[in-house]
Symmetry: C2
Subunit: 224 residues, 2 copies
DNA sequence: TGAAATATGATAGTATTACTATTAGTTTTG
DNA sequence: CAAAACTAATAGTAATACTATCATATTTCA
């Protein structure tokens, strides 16, 4: 298996930060509290001034780590997808039957997220809510092509391509492997959002979660 | 068939505007040029000041029609989904075989959009690009629940429920009818975006468009 | 027709945002 | 223990997202 399993540092593009936030106490506080604040007030209302205040520090100190809040969100997103990729790789490790491996990967990508206590300053369950509510906005911008060229979405695309590879192991003749993979990853976020805010257009309700079953049942019918 | 076929006025929640833009020359200019401007510069850079200038008018005049640019985008989105709903209803009219009717609806929802010359001040092909790039942002906000309660997303949900009804006609026993419908509507927008900006995670390329085939093939396998 | 109502355009003003720059103090490190 | 690096605080700028006011032009309808 790849080097991804060796350590718990996430793959994050260096151009996303000015100073690596994982290397200092203040940096980790910025990550921890930016997640909590964005979750609480939404990305549009979130500002570096408010973040500075909430960590007993200052706007200008936050700016020394991140150019702007968009880059910070890209950083948190990369962190998240890198963490998901790691969990996906780990969960499918040593699983030989391709279909079983695919199901396990889909479970990791579409299921509920629990906190990972190995990383104290990131609340993964909260970060997951941010990804559901805010991630799509990171690429729906006029700067996508330039930022994509700079590699800001590499980890996200890597997760999708990993899923695509597992799909290909099950049925290499299916003609839309990549679109199926990207549909599942994005669609799962969307269904989670709908279950919390638009219950009349999903079959899922707050507590009970069959989103994983929905995707597994569909992919079985599509590929087999 | 419903009253929707009787006239070409779109179903738009009255709380979305202060003064109905379809009732005046200036109002129609606001609609026409806001579409062109948002498409050109992206929603984040778009301002009422720039819009006023581009129509040879004034910021304050635009504010007399719309409270803010978010409401304007909600207005344009409602207009779009209302137009799609109308086209969907028309295209499936008098088509009896349920599967054929479903395929036709999916073609309307996932295919390329051409301008509708009956409405001079709306360039539907451009509005479609805006929906692909900006619509998702209209509901990924902290105000969703309140705005949903006010009915700002009724037309969108109506399109999805109409698709869900067509799915139920083909296979009423499928357990995830609504989620399948919402996945297709949102997923099609996403795949169109990917084909223009993230070619490594779709099977579709700029010119050639098989997005419709992707959804029809999948839904056949899922439902039959 | 002419007064009243309505619509538009222009300007000014406010609070907030998204920064940049500077400086002074504090902590780390070689 | 001196130099370097880091942090906090403050001030300042341009742009945004409005609100308010007023003058003028246009419409309407009595």
């Amino acid at each position: 298996m790849e080097s991804i399993l060796g350590n718990l540092r996430m793959r994050i593009n260096e151009k996303l930060y000015l100073k690596d936030p994982e290397t200092s106490v203040l940096g980790k506080k910025i990550l921890e509290h930016s997640i909590l604040l964005i979750d609480k007030m939404g990305f549009e209302s979130f500002t570096f001034k408010k973040l500075g205040k909430s960590i007993g520090s200052n706007e200008s100190s936050v700016y020394r780590y991140f150019e702007n809040k968009h880059k910070l969100l890209l950083y948190l997103s990369s962190w998240y997808w890198s963490w998901v990729e790691y969990r996906m790789a780990l969960a499918t490790l040593n699983i030989d039957p391709p279909l079983k491996r695919l199901h396990i990967a889909i479970r990791e990508l579409t299921g509920e997220v629990e906190d990972d206590d190995r990383i104290a300053f990131i609340r993964e369950s909260v970060l997951n809510r941010i990804i559901i509510a805010e991630f799509t906005k990171t690429f729906l911008t006029k700067e996508v092509d330039e930022e994509n060229r700079q590699g800001f979405f590499l980890v996200y695309k890597s997760v999708i391509n990993r899923l695509a590879a597992l799909i290909a192991d099950v049925n290499p003749d299916y003609p839309y492997i990549k679109s199926l993979a990207s549909s599942i990853v994005e669609g799962a976020l969307h269904q989670h959002y709908l279950k919390d805010h638009f219950t009349t257009i999903t079959d899922f309700y707050k507590k009970e979660n069959d989103i994983t079953a929905f995707y597994i049942e569909n992919i079985n019918k599509i590929l087999l």
